[in-house]
């Protein structure tokens, strides 16, 4: 199915840059864009420029005092102590010049995407600069300054009054977004992630289900370290189909962190490119089944910026713009341009070789455990078969 889709991009996104040794590197956006262009999958008319989110828009979710602190930090006028109280100036979210503007552009990109889709000018829209799901109301954390998803969902609730399904497939728990809507029955959040036993942020247990009126509208599927494609997809697809049929959203927002791959240095999941093909294919189906196609997709984590993220995010766009993934060899032009700069050998094909994944001895136990978690997750939504 060919849908009208927009790809949010501007070089302003590349200014969200902590320092050379930091794992969060928005060069991924450039690599993805160039990969798509080399593959003739991204036409110039599909590009949508972001705007800078206004303070009032940021304040839909963030505390004004926090926004002010980010602005001060942005021009080097925030003291170390004040900064630490807001999570600014830590190893995870160091202060850098222009951080307010850079972050506000990422949020504005997501808001532009929302507006294009919800005014009917485009069926789907993708902002790979967004998906910064660890940002809190008054605290930066986990590489995230402003939480574009939380701001955008508030924006949708206020401006369009639609019910939102937020789906987070980053290997880390989507905590910032979950807590933002923990008591809200009109926003359903679903996060699949590596269990927090070892991995940041540690939360995202299956029993975190929401509070007050929002009880039953937060879903968490923590999967074991070293989970591979088959088990991941089995539990993920079953869960999402069930949750979507339970909630019947008006619009779907997906956070597409690409850090569940076995090459990713920060997590312990063992996926391959197949995950990043099946995830958008299902999101696309759900968007058309329940939301008249209204789907806003965002980026997120992804720390192997050479071998994993460009291919994963390019396939996401391929599904959004063409309804299908691409097979075969990567364009030579892209490989030859970037191989010299890449510290690792770039993959030759869109798909991964089966030997990419190491042999995991506990595979059977992991699969069984994930299935048990799935059963717990769907305890209250599963329709009872007569």
């Amino acid at each position: 199915m060919i849908c009208s889709s927009k790809f949010v991009f501007s070089n302003d996104f590349l200014h969200y840059y902590f320092h050379g040794d930091h794992p969060f590197n928005q060069k991924r956006l450039l690599l993805t864009r160039e990969l798509l262009e080399a593959a003739h999958m991204l036409k110039p008319e599909a590009i949508l420029l972001p705007r800078k989110a206004t303070d009032d828009e940021l304040a839909l979710f963030h505390d004004r005092s926090y926004i002010e602190a980010v602005k001060q930090a942005s021009v080097g006028r925030l003291s170390t102590e004040e900064g630490l109280a807001f999570g600014l100036g830590t190893e995870d979210t160091p202060i850098f010049e222009g951080m307010h503007e850079a972050s506000a552009y990422l949020v504005g990109g997501t808001l532009e995407a929302v507006d294009k889709v919800l005014t009917g000018q485009s069926t789907h829209a993708l902002n790979l600069g967004g998906g910064l799901h660890h940002g809190f109301k008054r605290k930066a954390s986990g590489f995230c300054i402003y939480n574009d998803s939380a701001v955008a969902i508030r924006y949708i609730r206020k401006k369009y009054n639609l019910r939102v399904l937020y789906v987070d497939t980053d290997a880390h728990h989507g905590d910032g977004v979950q807590w933002a809507f923990y008591d809200d029955p009109d926003v359903c959040t679903f996060s699949i992630h590596e269990t927090g036993r070892y991995l940041f942020p540690g939360t995202g247990n299956v029993n975190e289900r929401g509070i007050k009126n929002g009880h039953g509208f937060s879903f968490n599927l923590p999967i074991d370290a070293f989970t591979e494609d088959a088990s991941f997809l089995e539990v993920y697809q079953t869960a999402l189909i069930e949750i979507a049929s339970f909630f019947k959203p008006d619009v779907i927002i997906t956070q597409n962190g690409a850090d569940a791959h076995c090459y990713d240095p920060l997590t312990h999941l063992c996926g391959t490119m197949s995950l990043f093909e099946q995830i958008p294919l299902l999101a696309h189906e759900i968007a058309h089944q329940y939301c008249k196609g209204r789907w806003i997709a965002l980026g997120g984590g992804g720390y192997d910026i050479w071998r994993v993220v460009p291919r994963a995010w390019a396939q996401l766009w391929n599904v959004m713009s063409n309804g299908e993934i691409v097979y075969g060899a990567l364009p030579d032009q892209w490989l030859s341009k970037w191989q010299d700069e890449s510290p690792v050998t770039l993959p030759k094909n869109w798909q991964d070789d089966p030997t990419t994944v190491p042999i995991i001895p506990r595979k059977q136990e992991i699969t069984e455990k994930n299935k048990n978690t799935l059963i717990q997750l769907l305890k209250y939504t599963k329709t009872i078969e007569s």
Binding site: E91, F200, G202, L266
Partner: protein, 216 residues
């Protein structure tokens, strides 16, 4: 940590003359499992559990009979004497009381007055707080020789990386008295630099242990 920091102070109690039916009602209404019984001076003279009350209630199979049992006074079924604790007791100590006495609730008494209550559930909640698993963090386990000065040596590696420590647990390494396991929860999404530094300094990591650096 002291009992007064974790106890609940709004205690639901009953006089000895209250009916069993009243107790049953309170247990349901407040989702609790224990009710201390106090006299007019607010002194604890007994305690009832949900099981005591259930045992004293008419069987649901016996639908024909009247429920006169429920009209009996609560003092006829309460347990006594009651094991109690003091607000200045240590939480670690009362964990032992729970374990040894096989009970699930302890009234807190100061100057012979009921001032609070601690349940097994409060105790577990406190344990969760102590492990630090409820806040944003990454988890690292290090096996170290059991000798003086080892903790500051390891933690200096975290401080060099400006990494905040959320919690530290020290526990035995299997049955080997020469080693300990240090479990750190640290406030970072990127534990890799710390992990590398720990390896470089020669420490053995139990988690992550599969990886020689990034996992490949």
């Amino acid at each position: 940590m002291l009992v007064e920091e974790i106890m609940k102070t709004n205690v639901i109690a009953l006089p000895p003359t209250a009916t069993i039916e009243r107790a049953l009602h309170l247990l349901h209404e407040h989702h609790i499992r224990h009710i201390p019984i106090v006299n007019e001076q607010n002194q604890v003279i007994g305690i009832v559990s949900d099981r005591d009350v259930r045992d004293a209630s008419p069987s649901i199979l016996n639908t024909g009979t009247s429920s006169r049992e429920l009209e009996h006074e609560i003092q006829t079924i309460m347990s006594q004497p009651v094991i109690t604790i003091h607000p200045l007791d240590f939480v670690e100590e009362i964990a032992k009381v729970f374990y040894e006495e096989e009970i699930a609730c302890l009234p807190v008494i100061r100057q012979n007055q009921l001032v609070g209550i601690v349940t097994e559930k409060d105790m577990l909640y406190t344990m969760i707080q102590l492990t630090g698993t409820h806040v944003q963090s990454s988890h690292i386990e290090v096996k170290v020789p059991h000798r003086p000065g080892i903790l500051p040596e390891v933690t200096s590696i975290f401080s060099k990386r400006k990494t905040n420590i959320i919690s530290v647990l020290v526990y035995p390494f299997k049955d080997d008295p020469d080693y300990k396991i240090l479990v750190f929860r640290i406030q970072t999404m990127n534990p890799l630099p710390v992990i590398e530094d720990l390896r470089e300094a020669g420490y053995e990591l139990l988690w992550p242990n599969n990886l020689e650096g990034p996992k490949q």
